[in-house]
């Protein structure tokens, strides 16, 4: 649970600024970004996520490095990602859509293990 998983902000709900749709390892999830409220997050920013909460804003280079670390540790990372996928993170009654926006189940990572940004649109 101490693993920090990098994710890219896709969308921030203007009505609930604590909630962001984040792409994590090829899956879109609602992530609580309330602890980074001073950072003025915008789509395309990268964050480091711990147990459903973003703790740090990072750059893309660091996201790649964090992902390389996670992949290097093998099973623990697999378990963490499996848990995150199973999680219904913050899909509260007020936000039925948040957290259920499933992205592709296939991680958007090349065979070289490099993390790709979503849709390569940035």
């Amino acid at each position: 649970m101490c693993l920090g998983i990098p994710g890219e902000i896709i969308e921030i709900d203007p009505d609930q600024p604590d909630l962001a749709t984040v792409e994590v390892s090829g899956v879109r999830r609602a992530i609580n970004v309330g602890l980074l409220s001073d950072e003025r997050l915008t789509p395309g920013d990268w964050i480091l996520i711990h147990v459903g909460f973003a703790l740090s804003k990072i750059d893309e280079e660091e996201a790649r490095s964090a992902m390389a670390f996670l992949e290097s540790i093998g099973q623990a990372y697999e378990d963490e990602i499996a848990a995150l996928r199973a999680s219904t993170l913050d899909a509260s009654p007020q936000t039925p859509a948040a957290g259920t926006t499933e992205g592709s189940e296939v991680a958007q990572r090349g065979s070289d293990g490099v993390l790709r940004g979503s849709e390569g649109a940035r």
Binding site: M1, C2, L3, G4, N32, G34, L35, L36, S37, D38, L48, H50, V51, G52, F53, L55, S56, I58, D59, E62, S65, A66, A68, F69, E71, S72, I73, G74, Q75, A76, D79, E80, A83, L84, A86, S87, T88, L89, D90, A91, S92, P93, D112, G113, V114
Partner: protein, 384 residues
């Protein structure tokens, strides 16, 4: 190692290793503790000790959240789970941790409802979905996970969810480091400071280590080069007779930490007078509990908790491993009676535990070879 630039990194590592060797005083030995289990993982996975001069020994510290939970607290959680209409939740790592009377998995086999969750917010959702039940989140972890528990408690309060509470087992890293510094067992020359914990608490809380104990501490990232770079920075301080807190991981860790996270923690929780750590014993002000103003969200206020002490199994030497006094493979049951599949001690349960990391990755490192030649022990016995 699946870096695209694996070979370039390997060259960089060798270059750094050369600079590290050049800084070592002839005839002097160095013991550095990496506090965080994530660092332990990187060190074993990438065989970093093989890059270092013989004079440097890396000591694995207590920074594995699951590893430091004493057996009595596991029993307490199982007791809470046994109360009528209670659903207990915790992180997956906790499920296999043995208590005095078995693990959470064992308790479930006997009829308890203990569920693993990825986030405390999942536990809150289970509470929302099960209004006739009371859902307890067994909160564990250092400052990395504390803000998430505190945020979840605030959310429960805001939403008026009345059937949710926290069984708080959060621990704080600074008192543990102080306990290790005050322990006569170990003489350390410096610290590789934890990365993610520091992104919450910042770097200033470590300053007493440099000021009062005269030991350098360098907050480090998780890549192999980060750790080598941090070792170089510690050695450079020692060579220049300095002891300071330096931040090698500034790309993630702000010097002041995450002020919002610290505010949220202070709103919801306060230090306990003391808390038992596996292996380290009772350490004052080393853990957090829910404040009285959040008693309605505090499982220890809402339910009777037995609070018994349970001695670790005699064969288990997790305590010595957590203090850095023993290396994982020096434990009598390492790899034989105690394996990740059938753990006796917590250090083998969690992926962040030194024993699990060593078992999975570290078998062929320098220290392993050294150990085999020095101790003539049954090297075959520790192979899985």
């Amino acid at each position: 190692m699946r870096f695209v630039d694996e070979y370039r990194d390997s060259d960089k590592a060798r270059a750094l290793a050369g600079r590290i060797a050049a800084l070592c005083e002839p005839g002097r030995t160095y013991k550095f503790m990496e506090v965080c289990g994530g660092h332990t993982h990187t060190i074993y996975k990438h065989g970093l000790e093989d890059y270092l001069p013989e004079a440097i020994t890396l000591i694995h510290g207590p920074g594995c959240p699951v590893c430091v939970i004493p057996m009595g607290r596991v029993d307490d959680a199982i007791h809470l789970a046994g109360q009528p209409d209670v659903i207990m939740t915790s992180f997956g790592d906790m499920m296999r941790v043995p208590g005095g009377d078995g693990s959470f998995f064992d308790a479930n086999a006997k009829g308890a409802d203990i569920r693993m969750v990825y986030s405390p917010l999942d536990a809150l959702r289970i509470a929302r979905d099960n209004p006739a039940k009371h859902v307890i989140f067994m909160a564990i972890g250092f400052e990395t996970t504390v803000p998430s528990t505190a945020m979840t408690a605030l959310r429960a309060r805001t939403e008026g969810i009345g059937n949710f509470s926290v069984f708080c087992n959060h621990v704080t890293i600074i008192p543990a480091i102080k306990a290790i510094l005050d322990s006569p067992d170990l003489r350390l020359d410096g610290f590789i400071g934890p990365g993610h914990v520091s992104s919450v608490i910042g770097c200033a809380p470590y300053e007493f280590i440099a000021r009062d104990y005269g030991k350098p501490l360098v907050v480090a990232g998780f890549e192999p080069l980060d750790i080598l770079q941090s070792i170089y920075m510690i050695l450079r301080q020692l060579a220049e007779n300095r002891s300071e807190v330096e931040n090698q991981y500034a790309r993630v860790v702000p010097w002041e930490g995450n002020l919002k996270a610290l505010d949220v923690i202070n709103e919801v929780m306060e230090p306990r007078a003391y808390f038992e750590w596996r292996g380290l014993g009772f350490i004052s002000h080393s853990a957090l509990r829910m404040k009285n103003t959040y008693a309605d969200l505090d499982a220890e206020h809402l339910f009777q908790v037995p609070g018994g002490r349970v001695a670790d199994p005699k064969a288990c030497q997790c305590g010595e491993v957590l203090k850095g006094v023993l290396k994982p493979w020096e434990c009598k049951v390492f790899g034989t009676a105690c394996t990740p599949e059938t753990p006796i001690g917590t250090c083998m349960v969690s992926s962040e535990g030194a024993c699990a990391a060593y078992y999975n990755f570290g078998r062929f490192t320098r220290s392993r070879v050294k150990e085999a030649t020095v101790r003539h022990s049954t090297a075959q016995g520790v192979q899985p």
